[in-house]
Symmetry: C2
Subunit: 528 residues, 2 copies
């Protein structure tokens, strides 16, 4: 197996890809290196920018230098890191066809000693009729199969692309079929156009569909994705490799990349960045440089900020805070927010992939945080392992105190001591947003013992919490519920909702939940 | 006047403060320079980090070097930028008192040629009884008055501090009274402890209370505030100057600052930053350096990221996107989110201060964006200038098309053409989230012509929009409302709400709003 996962968060992972030129850590961004023209040399990319992998186009190299005897890719580009090559498929997307056959371009990639090669797939474009999309899927699969004997003898890693564009059924089919073939890496075709239209919600559906139908143990390359703004989101969905020429193409148009978007250099009165370029010059001086020099510096800045964002993403994976980063980056653009909301549709997949406790408490900012895997997992576990497990007939449901863990709160301990006689007949739980019902003993375990919620909570969070409480009570089948609440919105909405359930409900509404008076009201409610 | 505002966004501004040592651009972060021990020399701070201003402690200098003849601050620190001096007030907060009188420390600040000095105020601590807080307010004001004759003859700018801590009535009083005295700069005392407790919502109330009671034309210094995470929020509230020793104090404890929080170096597997330090070393190598060197590099990183965040904030002001930055940074911690929600309580103040169109469309991410000044301002203007202004009896209220401007949408133009005969009797408007009612002609003006809203919208946004529609209809006093809606949540909630108003309501519910059928249903509703 050429790929090993070292750490995980959501569907994102830190992995090691074994290539014949050494181990490559993922997620990784590969700057596209134009073999004909380089703003930043590959040697500098590795030394000054930390680029351990680059991608170049074997088709262009073949067209211009194919006749050179003994052409070796690493020497040719003066780069000793890992090199991916593209096959000319992108040129097919742009020009309709290329003057090379698949056996030729595979043979050429082998001959120049690339580390990772790709078959000559047929990319799915954006505004294509379904019949054309079907063709790109079918033909890519046919070529992938045709390529197998050609690539089986090499120590190169080979990429098997997934097509289908925004036709999710075709993406699923394409992924299932390519997954059956012995490719080392998969790639999702051509989201470039989706991203140029800021159509990030569609991208979420495309990537998640591909991901669900591909083997988790193979890395996934998101073709042509290079804006740092979407790295966190794409990695969270399980993308491992990214490539783009944006750093240099944008520089040509004097477009300055940030982790929150793109700005025209002329609109920058400041350089909103800590990179070595931006710390060594003012925006005014940068704008006044000769065009070539200015373009180089913008490209360097763009590459710095792109590489740094991937480090930010990797650090978040190790901390288990990738969701929080995605949530922050979702504020870059309304379409990024929409994409992030769309990600919540896949909360089951995220929960299944997500590892356990990493030493960090869980943060809830607003309803957008409700799809965090810790909430999804907690609900599953509490319903299947706890609801009704004690066989008690009566539920004593307290509004959770501010103190954590809830069951160590002195006020609670006091009430519990005074309730002693009734205690072995009732089940004691707390309710709290966003989890719902928290059995006493679970309140001292992760994530209940370590979470923070921004106040005040919103309508969606209140509703979500009430539903969680109801689901627990239904599952546990109590004959009586004694609800101890205050005067908040959540308390009121919960009382309303429980009132319409078929259960003997006793409500103790008080502004001193942890008082002796509450104890006697509970005893009354219990015996009455 | 020593302070001139160059650009504005929310209550934030880019200003030029005229000091005797040259112009200082604000908002500015001032690293605290310890006169006894420097991790990064002031000279390097200016050259490599872009620090045009620093702050040091005149009390410590006086204690250690007060006897040196001819001591000149800029030569002493080897720094040719602007220097602020503190007076020993912080030492009063920590040690209870200092061995210096106000005339002595003011005289000393004058003698060493500081650029900006401060009186010997009495800081308000955190856990103090109200009587003590009242004392700090009273005594600071007494000293501020006492200082006036001492400072009137100097070309130094003088800072008049505001005390009161979390007692907002005392903050307001303190601000009103100090505002009456001829100080050049004001400062809000001691939010350090508030920030150490992550009590950001309280900080919002403190700053906004001070700001409302201070003259806008004087800069506001937030004492001891130095974490880049809160710069955007604090600047949005109108803070202009920040100082902190966090960059170096945190480095001593190997704490690594980011714009999203603080991480222990030992917990960093990557360096999530693009600064020159982090781009030139790996986290592994950094951790293995000798302690002194490691501490220096962490301090340098901390200062880089702090300085860069201020550039990010300033660029956002020029773009008019400061709110969006605050919204993104609010995802750093639930307490930052709570503070941001608290900021919405001051939406009137933000709207009043906010400038007009800056060439950028307005983005709405979720209900947290509803307090943006563009929404507040639009509602005021549409209610006072448009509602009922045409004297029409009948309102034709269309669900807005996706197309912008709404009134250029071909479907709308077609319906309008066919409705010709009835047109001079009705007022045509659209409804759209989050603005509410949009009169036809306003739909081609800012911000209606240029905004984007993340879909799907949440409950709070729907409710907010419905309320805006109702307020408009109430203000305009129509006798009949013809509502043309589709089947969305907003449509349904709006229909419900209008149903309970006292108006002749005709609802046309359709999935083809812009069809000929709609035209004939409108004519029926109009005449019927």
């Amino acid at each position: 197996m050429s790929f090993e996962v070292k750490d995980k968060d959501l569907l994102g992972r830190i992995g090691k890809l074994r290539t014949k030129n050494g181990l490559l850590e993922t997620p990784a961004f590969m700057p596209v290196v134009n073999p004909l023209l380089q703003t930043i040399s590959p040697r500098r990319m590795k030394r000054e920018f930390g680029c351990e992998v680059i991608i170049t186009n074997s088709y262009i190299i073949k067209s211009h230098f194919g006749e050179l005897p003994g052409l070796e890719l690493h020497r040719f580009l003066d780069y000793d890191g890992v090199i991916f090559t593209d096959s000319g498929a992108y040129q097919i997307l742009i020009y309709g066809e290329v003057g090379v056959t698949q056996p030729e371009i595979i043979g050429f990639q082998k001959s120049i000693n690339t580390d990772v090669g790709v078959i000559l797939d047929i990319p799915t474009g954006w505004d294509e009729p379904r019949s054309r999309v079907e063709y790109t899927v079918r033909e890519t699969l046919r070529r992938a199969k045709e390529a197998l004997p050609l690539i089986s003898d090499s120590d190169i890693l080979w990429v098997g692309p997934v097509q289908g564009g925004r036709h999710l059924d075709l993406v699923a089919y394409s992924a299932q079929k390519i997954a059956e073939m012995p490719y080392d890496i998969h790639a999702l075709g051509s989201p470039t156009e989706v991203m140029e239209r800021y159509n990030y919600p569609v991208l979420v559906d495309m990537v998640m569909t591909a991901k669900k139908n591909l083997p988790l143990e193979r890395p996934l390359h998101l073709f042509g994705a290079g804006h740092p703004m979407m790295f966190a989101l794409a990695v969270a969905m399980g993308c491992d490799l990214f490539d783009s020429a944006a750093y240099t193409l944008y520089a040509k148009d004097m477009r300055y990349i940030t982790s929150r978007g793109t700005v025209q250099l002329q609109n920058l009165q400041y350089l909103p960045c800590s990179c070595p370029v931006c710390r060594s010059i003012t925006s005014q001086d940068l704008k006044e440089l000769p065009k070539g020099e200015r373009q180089s510096l913008v490209a360097e800045h763009n590459l710095h900020v792109t590489m740094a964002e991937m480090e930010i993403v990797k650090q978040a994976i190790t901390e288990g805070t990738l969701w929080d980063l995605v949530e922050a980056r979702a504020k870059s653009h309304p379409q990024m927010t929409s994409a992030f909301k769309k990600l919540a549709d896949y909360k089951e997949e995220l929960e299944q992939a997500n590892p356990g406790f990493k030493g960090h408490g869980v943060f809830y900012y607003d309803y957008n945080s409700l799809a965090k895997p810790q909430v999804t997992r907690y609900k599953k576990q509490v319903l299947s392992n706890y609801a009704g497990s004690q066989g008690r007939e009566v539920l004593l449901l307290f509004r959770a105190p501010e103190y954590k863990p809830f069951n160590h709160y002195p006020g609670f301990l006091n009430v519990k001591r005074k309730l002693k006689q009734t205690l072995n007949m009732v089940e004691i739980c707390f309710f709290v947003a966003p989890y719902g019902v928290v059995p006493e003993l679970l309140s001292e375990t992760y994530p209940l013992s370590q979470f923070e919620l921004a106040e005040p909570i919103d309508h969606e969070t209140t509703k979500f919490t009430v539903k969680n409480v109801l689901d627990y009570i239904k599952a546990a089948k109590y004959s009586k519920v004694i609800l101890i609440i205050g005067y908040g919105d959540l308390d009121a909405m919960l009382e309303d909702a429980l009132n319409s359930m078929e259960v003997d409900l006793r409500v103790i509404k008080t502004d001193s939940i942890w008082s002796d008076e509450t104890v006697s009201r509970i005893s009354e409610a219990y015996t009455g």
